[in-house]
Amino acid sequence: MSTSDGWLAAALVPLLALGPVLWRIAHGPAKDRLVGQNLVSLLAGLALLLAAQGFGRPSYTDVALVVSVLGPTGTLIYARFLDVLPDSRLVKWTALIGVPATVLPLCVATGPGRAMAKLLLVGALLIAGSVVTSARGGDGGTTA
């Protein structure tokens, strides 16, 4: 197994995790759908970062950057419509553990430079977006 295969195998983890989340979005109550929508953008961002390295296409990182900005924004917009922003430990901890676990090995593989700064920026945006949209309010959450 070559190195790029390893990155692609790693990209399968967030990609396969999308399955149950998408099922929940299709069948769950409104609150769960909102959490799922939030989680989907986070997982998609991580999969895109790993795919960029695995396929040797740095432009996929740009898509991850766009997702990291628009994902939490979309969640906040729907939270406004649904009048609730649910707390979600799942989203918060997926971000706090998954993002460093993805971005730090990618940084080591990339080496110092602007590409690494970009990776760190995308990682910071993914964490910040997920924490802001998942850890607000005490019981049940409040609107933004």
Partner: protein, 54 residues
């Protein structure tokens, strides 16, 4: 003074982000980025003040 400082901090941060995200760094890109970042910095301050006034 606080206004200048706020815009300056935004401008430095946004110009830095621009320089990280563009594919090739050349003088024209830097100029365009610096001007765009200044406009965005002024917008950021205006946006914060609009939200704070509510």
């Amino acid at each position: 003074m606080a206004a200048v400082l706020e815009v300056l901090v935004w401008w430095i941060a946004l110009t830095g982000i621009w320089l990280v995200l563009i594919s090739t760094v050349d003088p024209l890109e830097v100029l365009v980025g610096a001007v765009a970042a200044l406009a965005a910095a002024l917008l950021a301050r205006a946006g914060r003040r609009a939200v704070a006034a509510q």
